[in-house]
Each structure stands twice: as C-alpha cells, then as structure tokens.
C-alpha cells in the first residue's frame, strides 16, 4: 500500500511538473496582453516584452491614425495589412468597448456591428467594384453578405478567404 502511494505521488509530481512547464512555456509565448484602457499609439502598454516598432520609428505615444498617415500613405509605406485591424480601430478612436461592450469576457463580434459603423455591404461593394482582379466584396457565391470577420481579423493577421479556391491576389487590411 505504502509503495503504491509513493508511486502515485511520484506520478503526480511528474505530471504537475509537466503541467507547470506548459503553463510557464505558454506564458513566454503569450501574445501581448490586451490592455483595454491603452491608447492606440501607446505600443508599450501592451507590448511589454519586446518593442513593437524599431528604435528609429518616431514616438507614437500621442499619435492617432491621422498622424500615422502623415508618413504612411497608400503610395509610400502603406499600412494596409501591416497592423492588426484592431490597432487601426484603436488608433482611429474606436475602443475595445465599442465592439465588445463593457465586459471582462469579450465575445466574438457579429458582422452587424461592423455594418453599423461601416455602412451597408452593397455600398462597400460599389466602392470596390474596380479592384483587380475582381471585386472582393461581392461574389457569385455569397453576394455581398460574406461575414467581414472571415477576412478582416482584428486580433491576428487578416486573410484572403477567397484564396481557399481562387488565386485572387488581394491585400487584406
């Protein structure tokens, strides 16, 4: 009996160690903590481990999206697809709460929220009708109603959902 208990304890110890390692390990790899109160330009508020921008980049602490665009134009150093869209939102003055509401447990944001600010999808499709090789905002499959979130991710790199089957070379903001 005694022997058995020892064995169990040993196994438990090993398992706990493994568990601890996993927890610690994941901590090291963790994404930056999302500080809800942080201003969009205050990179260091969330990016505590490593600076988000190179040292030669001007201080962004008090910048908003308009200030970024003083240098980053469409033609020169385009930001499209470079920054996660949540950052563009924050820099543009759209807080976490604006999409997720006041909560400690943010849920996924339905497309209706996007449309509420950005306007009807049909209008968007009209605006992008000349994009080559084809209009990204309408298709024979889903019309203009494909969920925005399928391409425009907020907290990770956006993707080109069409690319599952097509070779459309879109730059997704």
């Amino acid at each position: 009996m005694e022997h058995r208990r020892k064995k169990i304890l040993k196994a438990a110890f090993t398992l706990s160690c493994a568990f601890l390692l996993i927890v610690l390990g994941s901590g090291l790899w963790a994404a930056p903590k999302l500080i809800q109160s942080a201003k969009g330009g205050n990179c260091a508020a969330c990016h505590t481990d490593q600076p988000a921008l190179s040292q030669s980049h001007p201080d962004t602490k008090d910048m908003n999206l308009e200030a970024c665009r003083a240098c980053h134009t469409r033609e020169n150093m385009d930001l499209t697809g470079k920054l996660p869209a949540s950052h563009m939102h924050l820099l543009g003055g759209v807080s976490c709460e604006a999409c997720h509401g006041k909560t400690n447990k943010p849920e996924e944001t339905p497309m209706e929220k996007c449309v509420a600010c950005h306007g009807p999808t049909a209008k968007l499709a009209e605006k992008t009708k000349d994009v080559k090789p084809t209009n990204p905002h309408t298709s024979p499959h889903y019309g203009t109603e494909l969920d925005c979130n399928l391409c425009h991710h907020q907290h990770k790199k956006s993707e080109n959902y069409c690319a599952q089957c097509h070779s459309f070379d879109f730059k997704t903001p």
């Binding site: 304890l9 438990a12 706990s16 090789p133 499959h141 969920d147 399928l150």
Partner: protein, 521 residues
C-alpha cells in the same frame, strides 16, 4: 480476466487522476480524444446525462441536399436544426458549377430535344459500369423534372436561356440546365432563403462529433461542437442534441480528405489537387460507418478531366473545356499532336486517358467554338487575362507555344473538320454537334487540362426512402443520408450535372421521410 480486475484497475486509475489534480488531465483526455473510444465498440452509445437542445430533425450539412431536406421537413411541420461546420453555408454546392441534368425540362422542349427518364437512367448505368443501385439511380432519373420544377416554381431558381442547354460527356442528349449565374449558389442561396422564410436557421461553425445510437438501435441524438473552428478537432463547446425523429446526413463527399482518400485510393496523394472546398472531409461518413452504416463503393473517386493545372480549385477552365473544347473543339496529346479519346466520353474514361499520357492534354478551339463557353459573363476574357486559356493568331503559333508538332495538330484539326461534313467521327465515334462549325476561324484558343479530384461516388448505403442501411441489411432507425455522403446512385462514375439533381431528389426524399417518422420521447 475476472470482472473484479477491471473494476480495480478502473478505480485505481480514477484515483490516480484525482490525486494528480486531474481535472485538467481528464478534460485534456476528453478534448484530445486520445483514440480509445467508443469507436472500437459496436454496441450502443452512452446517453448523455442531460440534453442541451431538442429538435425533431437534425440536418448535418447546408448544401443542396441538406437544405432540401430541411425545407421538406420544416414544411411537413417538424422542428429542424441545420448544422454547418464551416463558417459559411453551402458547402461544395455554393462553389458548384450550377448545372443540373433534367429530363423533359422546358429548355429541352424549346430546343426540340427528345429525351426520357429511361434514357437518362441508361446513361447513368452505362457510365456507372452497372455498379449503380438501379432503384436509386431510377429515383434520380424519374424525379429530375420534379426537382427542376421545385427549383423554379417553389424556391425561385433562375436558369439560362434554352440555347445554353448543355450536352455534357456521357449523356446521350443535351439535358444539362445551367442556372442563370452558372453557380450552384443560385440554387443553394434560394434554398436558404426559403428555409429562412419558413423560420429556419443554419448554424455555422457547428461540428457533428458523434451520433448517439440507443441500445434499441435507434439514432436518438448527437454530440456536437458549437463555435467550432475548422479544422481544429478540439475547438468549440460540446453540446448534446436530442433528436426526436431523425438525423439527416448531408455532409457531402471527402475529396479534400487526403488521409481518408488515400486509404481508399492510395494513388490520390496530397499532390493531386481537388476542385472541392477545404471542408469536404470524411468525418461524418466515418461516423455513419461507426454506428453501423454499410459502406458502398468508397474507393470510387472521380477526377474531373476538364480541370486546368494553371488555376486553383474548380476554377473557370471547366466552362471553357466543356463547350468550346469538348463539344466544339478537340483535345490532343501535345507529344503527338493527335486526339486520343472521345472528348465526350464519361469523366473517368477521359481523366484516365489524360493521366495515361503522363502530362496535361491541350484543348483546342477557335473563334466560333469559344462562343459556346458557359460560365459567368466574360468567362473567356477572364481566362485569357489570367493566362489559363491562351489566344493565338494561327494554329501554328498555338502548336509552337505548347511544344506540339504543328503538322500533326493541323492534321487532327483537318480530320475533325472533315468528320463534321460526314457527320461521323471516324476515330472515336464522338457525338458531333449539329451546329458545329469547322475549326478554322482565328483567333485560336488553347487550354491545358489535367484532372483534379472532384467527386466521391461511394458512401453509406441508403434505400429509396433515404434511410441509412446497416451492415445487417436493415434500415437504421432515425438515420437518413442524401447527396454525396450516400453511395450507390452513380456506381463507378457520376455523369456531369447529375450530382445536383441527385442531391435535390434525395435531399427532398430524406426530408419527407424523416418528418413522417414517429417521434420518441
């Protein structure tokens, strides 16, 4: 082994987990599904302690078949849940070319084409090498007109002008009706609209993990995952759904499931591309087998001969290949410059013939032929712009660009042109379109053709009421299947444009049958 041993082992194991602070570990086992599972057992499934949701009918999949079943069941008064594991509805149906084989359509009538259900049945059986379950194939041929009328009149699907009626490979006559936008989305989106109008919803990102088959043999529910993120097996939240009438499996085929595909056809390695959407995987089919469904012809996997290696997925090339090349042009082996197969043979014969040459075939057409190209408006232009179809001033330039012996290519074209005059293809006995003109008018067009995995004919056995048949030859109570997940309708080879009608016919049958089932409580 004594009974006591098992109990002791089980208990000590449980004790161990507890001491080790094992809640996390237990959860880990459950989520990871380490693979000792109920799969091995043939007996009944454990019922959950609590059902999270209840419905009469649970439909798995939101393509042609699933939505047809959902509409019929809903209209018969059943409460219906439709699950879709992907973030968008429609499965493969929504990227499908949208062409439907129909006997006796108004399009055939307008064109004065004589046809009969028996003729379509004979075409299906011939291509299927008589491996089709005749009673299932017959349902499709005989109910095609009814399904077409349902599409037009009941859910408002629009088809093209009769002059665009297609004559597809393996069919004796032109009977394939394209939807107005040459996409299955025209049907599937109208089905969805109808289902919504009836008060139904499709729950996307919801995965069927397990069917629950009661000790009495009946399928009584399902274990699902909501908020699932394809393809992460452990994602989402587990829920149990009590299903009072029955589950309809309409989960499609497994063309994109390389691992399972290779267990059936080892030569279909990952490098062989597919026309399908990424969610065309086998887990629901495997679940049907696990609960005792009888597997039918699972290794019969179809490759599409009209696919181009120069674009992704199904693409647009199939539209160009089907009309301008196969009906109004020719296909040659670039090495010899000669035709090597009837361009209107069934898909398997053509795909096998291309693969046997060891390289992509070259489809040739001219300015007259390209007019027969289907697809969305501007398809030829888009194909040329994307470099999938290439345009040349002379046949000689076309041959040179593809490393083909010009003299042989010229001879092939001249031969074909002479057959048009006599009305007989002396080489391959191909059906010649009565309105075909000789290939002689510049510009000339070329497309490279190399097959892609397109359709899985096999699946779980069903009867004419769409009930799943078990290994014991008897229907599994409370379990239905329709569309590509079911096997037997097409036998060895499915003819082009017969999948759409198969899905609609059997989807509707499944919906009607399951609604009639007596609810359990």
């Amino acid at each position: 082994m004594k009974k006591g041993d098992v109990t002791e082992k089980t208990l000590s194991r449980r004790g161990f987990l507890k001491t080790a602070g094992g809640a996390a570990a237990v959860a880990g086992f459950a989520a990871g599904g380490l693979g000792f599972p109920s799969q091995a057992q043939a007996g009944p499934d454990a019922l959950p302690k609590k059902w999270d949701e209840t419905c009469d009918v649970l439909v798995v999949g939101s393509g042609f078949a699933g939505l047809a079943a959902a509409i019929e069941a809903k209209e018969a008064g059943a409460s219906v849940m439709v699950l879709e594991k992907m973030p968008t509805h429609g499965g493969n149906s929504i990227i499908n070319g949208g062409v439907m084989a129909v006997v006796g359509s108004d399009m055939q009538e307008a064109r004065g084409i004589k046809d009969s259900p028996d003729l379509m049945l004979a075409d299906m059986m011939k291509a299927g090498l008589d491996m089709n379950y005749p009673e299932l194939a017959k349902m499709v041929a005989y109910q095609s007109k009814d399904a077409y009328d349902w599409c037009k009149q009941h859910i408002g699907v629009k088809f093209t002008d009769p002059k665009m009626l297609l004559h597809m490979g393996g069919h004796t006559v032109a009977r394939s009706c394209p939807t107005s936008i040459y996409s299955g989305s025209e049907i599937v989106n109208k089905e969805l609209a109808k289902f919504k109008e009836l008060g139904g919803t499709v729950t996307t990102r919801t995965y069927l993990e397990k069917l629950i088959r009661h000790a009495n043999g009946r399928v009584v529910g399902a274990q699902i995952r909501t908020g699932y993120r394809f393809p992460d097996a452990g994602s989402g939240k587990v829920k149990f759904v009590k299903v009072k009438k029955g589950v309809v499996l309409a989960s499609g085929g497994f063309s994109q499931d390389v691992a399972f595909r290779m267990t059936q056809a080892p030569n279909l390695v990952a490098e062989v591309n597919s026309t399908n959407q990424p969610g065309a995987t086998a887990e629901v089919l495997k679940e049907a087998f696990r609960v005792g469904g009888n597997p039918v012809q699972v290794s019969w996997i179809q490759l599409g001969p009209w696919a181009s290696p120069d674009e992704k997925g199904f693409g647009l090339a199939p539209h160009f290949a089907t009309g301008p090349v196969f009906s109004y042009g020719i296909m040659v082996d670039p090495k010899t410059g000669k035709r090597f197969i009837s361009e209107l043979a069934d898909r398997k014969i053509r795909a096998d013939a291309i693969i046997r040459t060891g390289h992509a075939a070259i489809g040739i057409s001219d300015d007259e032929g390209q007019k027969s190209c289907g697809g969305p408006p501007g398809t030829v232009g888009k194909l040329v712009e994307r470099g999938v179809v290439k345009k040349f001033d002379t046949l000689e330039e076309l041959s040179k660009a593809h490393d083909m012996p010009y003299a042989a290519v010229k001879e092939s074209v001249d031969n074909y042109n002479s057959y048009l005059k006599t009305g007989t293809d002396k080489e391959f006995g191909r059906y010649l379109q009565p309105d075909a003109k000789p290939i002689e008018k510049a510009p000339f067009y070329a497309v490279r053709l190399w097959p892609k995995v397109h359709h899985t004919m096999g699946g779980v056995q069903i009867n004419t009421s769409a009930q799943v048949i078990g290994l014991d030859g008897k229907p599994i109570e409370g379990l239905y299947a329709a569309g590509e997940v079911a096997g037997g309708v097409h036998g060895a080879v499915r003819l082009g444009s017969v999948a759409v009608v198969d899905c609609l016919v059997f989807g509707r049958i499944a919906g009607k049958s399951v609604a009639k089932m007596k609810a359990w409580s």
